[in-house]
């Protein structure tokens, strides 16, 4: 098949599934959730698992995101991957990913979710290691898969506990049951959260995500920003009823989310690889979502998933466009002034930056604002303040990225400068669509004051209300909202100016790697977490392997077995000495033997 045909088929089927998703969404809207069982996958004893699908408000939202953004990224890939020899393979993997992701969100029980869950992990592995000739890429792929598997084990055991507790893995049976808080439920929630940690890159299982940027950029956009990594959010939101019954687990989710958000944001400040910055930004944003889940704001988390999918996919695709133009260069120290060469990319990237930074009325503002509001009431002031600081950090690193890449003067080689060009239509079109979505996406969930003032509705809250709903909190005072709005706008402008002054007017550049010192070095080396993990997990296990093989297996276990052999051999050698060959000696032995037998006979 020719490349254009492959691209058309690959994108076409995703478009088809997008259209079907829209239809499913309409059906749900009209007549509520519906379930369909394909066949009985497994029936062993009391364990009965249907290969079944459940389309309700939550899953249809995810389906729309997955297929919609998936389609855009497919289109983008046609342009981006055009010159790659693995073009066919790429689209095959990408479509396999869409399949797995849909399985994940559409399953009617936890096991089908798990199928998709591992399926997307596999596709992620295949796509990160897409350029398999590079050893480092292969390692990154392996790391991603293995870290995901650690989480998967948590999820798997959580499922066993769940089955033990409820006798079923179906969402309906589990989530419909009246729940009271119990130790088992807390355990299940924590185990599920471990699964979510792996998939959604939370502390301590987040280090794979930045490394996953080894994959082609569309992959980073689709899998490692917009869809797969939000599967953890989906899982927790889906199990919202369970989490609500376990305040302890919620606390854990919140604090882990908060820690990840802050931690990743600080690392993002000093990264110089355009994709790495975005990767840490993703980790940080996922942390935001978990904080929202931790305070019981499930729909808010889903709202942020949606808006984040728009602007983060946009940013990644934009960065892909930049990398494409730069001929594979990813270091922002060698970019600069790309505004005039890549006008469309620049504009859309700017929109994405502003959206993630939280400038009203772009999408990021609404969702982040809602998270902050919910945290204020549900999480206590410490969490709220930390999260606000993290939002500020988000704005800083994104603005830094923007200014260093697009403003100022070009710092690359002449050759690169000569090569600079705007990307083809198949790449810019998705950028434009996503930019529009990033602008208007926020109106899916407007804050309360807008509801009153402008007569708009929080569509998403109402929509998802049938599946999960936010924990109740007191009505937000308008004063608070206005303050938050004003302060955030003010801070953003000040920041924008400051960052601009720092990097553009003063032409300060991030120092080369070897000149970094102190905290800067610490940050750019990501707090040495990779090295730490290497030292406390990877190497010990490897040396344990060598140790077991060399010092336990060979001398002890095998030694014992061989010892038996040696024992019989050496005892044979010893007993052989009795055979002197001296006939009289044998005769004597015989006679003595007879005597002994007689005596024994006599005694008994």
């Amino acid at each position: 098949m020719g490349k254009s045909l492959v691209g058309m088929v690959g994108s076409g089927v995703v478009l088809g599934s997008f259209i079907l998703s829209v239809m499913a969404w309409m059906q749900v809207k009209e007549s509520g959730a519906f379930e369909a069982n394909a066949f009985t996958w497994l029936e062993v004893g009391s364990l009965h698992i249907e290969f079944g699908f459940l389309v309700d408000e939550l899953s249809s939202l995810m389906m729309l995101i997955v297929t919609g953004i998936g389609f855009l990224i497919h289109v983008y890939s046609v342009g981006y991957m055009h010159d790659d020899v693995g073009f066919h393979k790429f689209f095959a993997y990408l479509n396999l990913f869409i399949f797995s992701m849909l399985l994940l969100v559409m399953g009617s029980n936890y096991l089908i979710l798990f199928f998709g869950w591992e399926g997307v992990g596999l596709c992620s592995y295949l796509l990160i290691g897409f350029w398999y000739k590079n050893k480092e890429f292969g390692k990154a792929a392996r790391k991603a898969f293995i870290m995901n598997r650690i989480g998967d084990l948590g999820l798997l055991i959580g499922m066993f506990m769940l089955f033990n507790e409820f006798g079923s893995l179906n969402y309906k049976d589990v989530l419909g049951a009246g729940l009271s808080s119990s130790y088992a439920i807390t355990c299940i929630c924590i185990l599920f959260f471990i699964g979510a940690m792996g998939k959604s890159a939370q502390i301590p299982l987040y280090t794979w995500l930045p490394d996953a940027m080894a994959g082609p950029t569309p992959v980073s956009a689709l899998i490692h920003a917009a869809t797969m990594v939000t599967a953890g959010i989906y899982l927790v939101a889906r199990s919202g009823v369970l989490y609500t019954a376990s305040p302890d687990a919620m606390q854990l989710v919140m604090y882990v989310g908060l820690a990840t958000a802050t931690f990743a944001a600080t690392i993002g400040l000093k990264q110089n690889d355009i994709k790495k910055v975005l990767a840490y930004s993703t980790v940080s944003q996922l942390g935001f979502m978990f904080v929202a889940l931790g305070v019981g704001a499930y729909t808010t988390a889903m709202f942020h998933v949606t808006t984040h999918a728009f602007f983060k996919a946009l940013l990644f695709l934009g960065s892909g466009s930049v990398i494409h133009a730069m001929g594979g260069e990813q270091d922002i120290r060698k970019m600069g002034g790309l505004k005039k060469y890549l006008p469309i990319t620049h504009l859309t990237f700017l929109i994405g930056t502003l959206a993630i930074a939280g400038i009203p009325p772009l999408a990021g503002f609404f969702s982040k604002d809602e998270i902050l509001t919910n945290t204020y009431y549900g999480g206590g002031s410490f969490v709220f303040i930390m999260l606000c600081i993290t939002s500020v950090l988000t704005a800083i690193y994104m603005l830094r990225l923007y200014f260093l890449t697009f403003r100022g003067s070009f710092r690359g080689t002449r050759e690169q400068e000569h090569h600079l060009h705007e990307s083809p239509l198949s790449m810019t079109l998705p950028l434009i669509v996503l930019a529009i979505l990033s602008v208007v996406g926020g109106f899916l969930g407007v804050p309360e004051w807008m509801e009153h003032k402008l007569g708009l509705h929080h569509t998403l809250n109402g929509w998802l209300g049938n599946v999960v709903h936010n924990a109740a909190h007191p009505a937000v005072t308008e004063m608070f909202e206005y303050t938050l709005l004003a302060v955030s706008i003010a801070i953003l402008f000040i920041l924008a100016l400051a960052v601009r002054t720092f990097y553009i007017s003063r032409k300060t550049l991030p120092e080369p790697d070897e000149e970094e010192i102190g905290i800067v070095k610490l940050l750019s080396h990501k707090y040495y977490i990779d090295e730490l993990y290497d030292a406390i997990f990877v190497r010990p296990i490897q040396s344990l392997g060598t140790f077991l093989h060399d010092y336990i297996e060979k001398p002890v276990i095998d030694g014992l077995v061989n010892g038996f052999g040696r024992l019989s051999k050496s005892s044979g050698k010893l007993i052989r000495l009795l055979q002197t060959g001296n006939t009289e000696f044998y005769l004597l032995g015989m006679v003595l033997g007879i005597i002994v037998i007689f005596v024994l006979n006599f005694i008994m």
């Binding site: 009289e584 004597l588 006679v591 003595l592 007689f598 005596v599 006979n601 006599f602």
Partner: protein, 175 residues
């Protein structure tokens, strides 16, 4: 009368038996053994086993011992010098043999032999009776023993013959 005869014969057989063991020259051993056999044949007669006694003398004294003598003569082994044994080994031999005797007699001492149930039949040892038992009840072992003889004969011939490859060149020239 019979008792005296028994004791005399016993004495003779034990003494000559000891002589077999302790005689320096193998020839003396052979001769003593022949005497022992005669004494034992006398015991057989005392036991009313006349035919057995005759066969005993013919087979043992007449055939086997002659064979021994022949071999001794042929090989010219009539030397008194036998390589000396370890004194410890000798001592061990004597001690263990006596030990064996002590344990055996000790063991037999307590045993009770059931009294004979049938009336004494003095004609048991006659050829006619024995022949009947031998060819009626024991005909199969009898035939097998004849096979054994055949095999022993063949074996003895085979062993006694010089292997062709062992014949040296000088011997060939002699022929």
């Amino acid at each position: 009368m019979i008792e005296i005869l028994f004791y005399v014969l016993s004495f003779v057989s034990i003494v000559t038996g000891l002589m077999v063991v302790f005689a320096k020259s193998p020839i003396h051993s052979v001769l003593s053994l022949i005497v022992t056999f005669f004494a034992i044949a006398g015991q057989y007669i005392l036991l009313n086993a006349q035919f057995l006694a005759i066969v005993h003398i013919i087979v043992y004294a007449g055939a086997i011992m002659v064979l021994f003598l022949f071999v001794l003569m042929l090989l010219n082994l009539n030397k008194e010098a036998e390589p000396n044994k370890d004194i410890a080994m000798k001592l061990a031999g004597v001690i263990s043999a006596s030990l064996l005797m002590v344990t055996l007699t000790g063991a037999l001492h307590g045993s009770v032999v059931p009294e004979a149930t049938l009336a004494v039949n003095t004609s048991n040892g006659l050829v006619k009776n024995l022949g009947q038992v031998l060819f009626k009840d024991f005909v199969v072992p009898f035939e097998i023993s004849s096979l054994l003889f055949l095999a022993a004969m063949a074996g003895a011939v085979l062993l006694g013959k010089k292997h062709p490859s062992q014949i040296t060149d000088s011997e060939i020239q002699k022929i």
